[in-house]
Amino acid sequence: MAWRDLGAASPELVLTVAAFVVLLYDAWMTGPSLESPRSGGAGWLALAGVALALLLNAFPPTAPVAFAGMYVRDRLTQAVTLAALLGTGITVLLSPAYLNRFRLPAGEYYALVLFSAVGAILMGAARNLVVLFLGLEILSFPLYTLAALATRSRRSQEAGLKYLLLGAFGTAFFVYGVALVYGAAGTLDLSRLAGVPLTPLLGVGVALLTIGLGFEAALVPFHAWAPDVYEGAPLPATAFMSVIAKVGAFAGFLRVFPLALPAAAAQWSAALVAVAVVTMIWGNLAALFQTNLKRLLAYSSIAHAGYMLIGIAAPGPAGTLGVLYYLVVYAVMNLGAFGVLILLERRGEEADEIADLAGLWGRAPWAAGVLALCMVSLAGLPPTGGFIAKLYLFRAALQGGHTTLALVAVLTSVVSVYYYLRVAAAALSGTAPDAVAPRRSATVGIALALAGAGVLWFGILPSTLTAFVQQAVQALR
């Protein structure tokens, strides 16, 4: 290991160091009282770490391949890092008000968030199946803990346990897949898998890898944990996991499928198309019937995983471009939607029913506006980033000749409009229930402003981000 290797992994290192600093700071401030400090210091430290990592991410390293060829920081890694860091940064801004209100341990919370982000980024940088597995574990273990962070809430405990058990199950599939791939190919190096002939053993191994990643991305039929965990976990944790797990999982998909196994496209494409179709249909149909916003957004996130899988199932540069663009936009719009919920409180609890949104317009017009904007974007309507992202994916599907896939995607998008606009209309009409009160928070306000601006920017002036992810795609060919 040389210094150069550490330079390549500098964003991950910065985040890791920041996480430890946050933990130490928290321990120092807590002292013997065992009561978490109420100041936002830990949050600001975490934010500084994210900002520094974002800055470092802007500069490509001199030697992209590091750690004996197991790690690579190329343009794709940079794009994945951007999505992960945007998600993490907005989450950190969204959290302080909620953590104070519900007396959650801020130090542990921020440290776990940062560790999890490191895992997602590592998955994007994996050039070796072991590193991919490492990333998956670093990503998901903090998420299990985050789901169970509200120690006084039984719902939160149940969510954490459920997530842990099913997540471990998924990870087991993944690691078994790694073993089979090694048995078939004699290598764990993703860059060398392309030349390996497709034997049944390799096929089974890749299928098991897919199941493991499918758990993380909440693809149907591996999605069953998502609604319960989303509903039970504390709101900021739900918001964060909805984004970071997708970033990590799809980074993994990109590293394994279009990049490592392009030659065997015909074999795995059909299976992925089937999974994508089922996921889009099931996620959107189930979301139609939800009255709880966290569950609704859970099914919505399942549906979005289905859309992103289009970019994997329709291989080629267009698909990869679509997935990367979608990840960034998804991080911003989904966190914007969750951010508005974080502002609401119903008698000392989370206000997470659609009915709780009624009359929000009169009390917090800007928050209602951002919510409506994010819903429009999630539905994939112009002039928002969600539309451009879907446009790129549909283009990839049609270019790959997957007309059925594109048809299912657009028709389920129409279905999704029904529930997204119901939420938006609820926030913009009616009279506010007495029990629900919108809280004021400067950091949440900043986060919402960022999310709203991002959604519009990626929708109206998409060329900057497109050019950025385009570079990532071209560098791989």
């Binding site: 309507l381 112009p382 549909f394 049609l398 129409v414 409009v417 029904y418 209309a425 497109t466 050019a467």
Partner: protein, 537 residues
């Protein structure tokens, strides 16, 4: 690139929306004033563009082109030609009237109402100005969102259901069009221009799709536009939406959004898929005739004023569709004129119906009677507008329907003859409406009904003026569209093998992929750059 007048046309309402959004929600008068000022400025600019538009030129004028997402071949390309210049002016004309008419109807949440209205205006204007397929689609879909909220938040009973039905119906059509747009784009990869969404560049070469592919693509586009118009049998969202809307929003829905559908057929379906347009012409003409008669007949049976006008509007849209797919220059000219007329007349009818509803709260025609003697000015204006809808000579409606029927008789005589019955049906339901509401014994409980206030007179007088102006002197409108319509029909007929502008001289020029300079585009009207079009012919 310095922004030209068309960009400004989009920017003014957008800036108005931003200004209104930044204001205190309690200052309702000032909010309305800001909205009105933005809309009037937009109208002045649109009128200026309309006046400066050089008649007799087929290609685009006031063109603006800038890279938008070069990596994917999306361009920011705006322009007006004979198809769109008058419609753009119509949009800018009707919005201030709608806002003015809303004063009596919209009392709560004035600020979001003004903002939403201005966003809708931006979307509509963009739909008529965009020359890039994705840019068009962005505006096309983006105008749905404000319209959804206008119905869902300010509508009457059943508004939520009507709003979502309207949205899902229209969106189901448009997403298929989105796929077709992408397919056209991917298909263009084989052409010398390379993959692009830029419509004029796409049109410089035959698209090269044939057979069932062309049929499917044509249908994907046509269905999206047909739902918006709406064409029978895709109209079932219409009565609910029109009845649940606040009346001023119906003015926009019927007066303007329906036109966007008809315009789309002319702008995209006909030039992109000439063979399929010819092949489907008879079928669509048949649907148009059915729509004319069906809409008229249902309107006759309606007792709810707004449903009556909604079905009547649908019947009149049938004439426009008939004219388009007659594929005859006279008929298409008539359709374009009729789009303007329909916007003015139907818009005026809904404005008047809204004024009546504000006063009495009664939607059913049989709850009225004999109000002509109570509100003479209101009755006179209504009668004029009804006459215009009936296509009485000297009003605008006559010119449009006459040209449509004349042109259609050339190519599809049977359809023209049956459609003429539609004119008779219109007389039946509209005069029945006038008879029930304005004549007969005076109902005692309507004794205190107030006539038009000065503010309301200011709203309806411009509409009446346009009705007579178009009716008596339609030449400026016809001049502006003639050249473009001829070029379009030549293209559909296949008489110019490669491009509609071949008659202007010069062989078809290959366009370099990615960055076609505006001046090098065969469709670019060079003298129109920077807003200094050639005058005269």
């Amino acid at each position: 690139m310095t922004p030209g007048p068309l960009t400004l046309l989009l920017a003014i309402p957008l800036a108005g929306a931003a200004a209104a959004a930044a204001m205190d929600a309690r200052e309702e008068r000032r909010l309305r004033a800001i909205g009105l000022v933005a809309m009037l400025l937009t109208f002045l600019l649109a009128a200026w563009v309309w006046l400066r538009f050089a008649p007799g030129v087929a290609g685009l004028q006031f063109e603006e082109r800038a890279p938008w997402v070069p990596a994917v071949g999306m361009t920011y390309h705006l322009g007006v030609d004979g198809l769109s210049v008058s419609l753009t002016a119509l949009v800018a004309f009707l919005f201030p009237i709608a806002l003015g008419a809303s004063a009596g109807q919209i009392h709560d949440r004035v600020k979001p109402f003004v903002v939403t209205l201005l966003l809708l205006e931006t979307g509509l204007l963009g739909t008529f100005l965009a020359q890039d397929l994705v840019l068009f689609y962005v505006f096309w879909e983006a105008m749905l969102v404000p319209m959804y909220f206008l119905i869902a938040l300010w509508g009457g009973p059943g508004r939520m259901r009507a709003a979502i039905k309207f949205f899902l119906y229209t969106m189901a059509g448009s997403v298929l069009m989105l796929l077709a747009i992408i397919a056209v784009y991917l298909n263009a990869a084989r052409l010398p221009g390379g993959s692009t969404f830029d419509l004029p560049v796409l049109l410089t070469h035959p698209l090269g799709v044939t057979g069932s592919t062309e049929t499917l693509l044509f249908l994907a586009f046509a269905v999206a536009f047909a739902i918006k118009m709406p064409v029978w049998p895709l109209h079932t969202w219409l009565p609910d939406a029109y009845a649940a809307c606040p009346p001023v929003v119906t003015v926009l829905l019927a007066g303007l959004m329906a036109k966007a559908g008809a315009y789309g057929l002319l702008r995209f379906c006909l030039p992109l898929f000439p063979d399929a347009s010819r092949a489907f012409g008879p079928l669509l003409s048949g649907l148009a005739v059915v729509g004319i008669l069906y809409g008229g007949a249902i309107a006759w049976t309606q007792r709810d004023m707004r449903r009556l006008l909604a079905y009547g509007s649908m019947s009149h849209m049938g004439f426009i569709l008939l004219g388009i797919f007659a594929l005859d220059a006279t008929a298409v000219q008539g359709s374009l004129i009729q789009m303007i007329n329909h916007g003015i007349s139907t818009g005026a009818l809904f404005v008047l119906a809204g004024l009546l509803l504000d006063r009495t709260g009664r939607a059913r025609t049989d709850e009225y009677g004999g109000i002509a003697s109570l509100v003479p000015a209101f009755s006179a204006v209504t009668l004029i507008v009804v006459m215009s809808s009936l296509a009485l000579p000297a009003t605008n409606g006559f010119i449009g329907e006459f040209l449509i029927l004349l042109g259609t008789f050339e190519t599809r005589p049977a359809a023209a003859v049956i459609a003429t019955l539609g004119v008779v049906v219109a007389v039946a339901y509209l005069l029945a409406f006038v008879g029930r509401v304005f004549h007969g014994p005076v109902r005692e409980d309507l004794r205190g009904l107030a006539d038009l206030t000065p503010r309301e007179r200011a709203l309806v007088v411009p509409l009446v003026l346009v009705i007579f102006w178009t009716g008596l002197y339609p030449q400026p409108l016809l001049d502006r569209s003639a050249a473009t319509v001829n070029a379009l029909l030549n293209r559909v007929a296949g008489t110019t093998a490669v491009q509609p502008q071949a008659s202007r001289g010069g062989p078809p020029r290959a366009v370099t992929p990615g960055s076609p300079p505006a001046g090098a585009s065969p469709t670019a009207f060079a003298a129109g750059q920077g807003g200094t079009p050639r005058k005269g012919r």
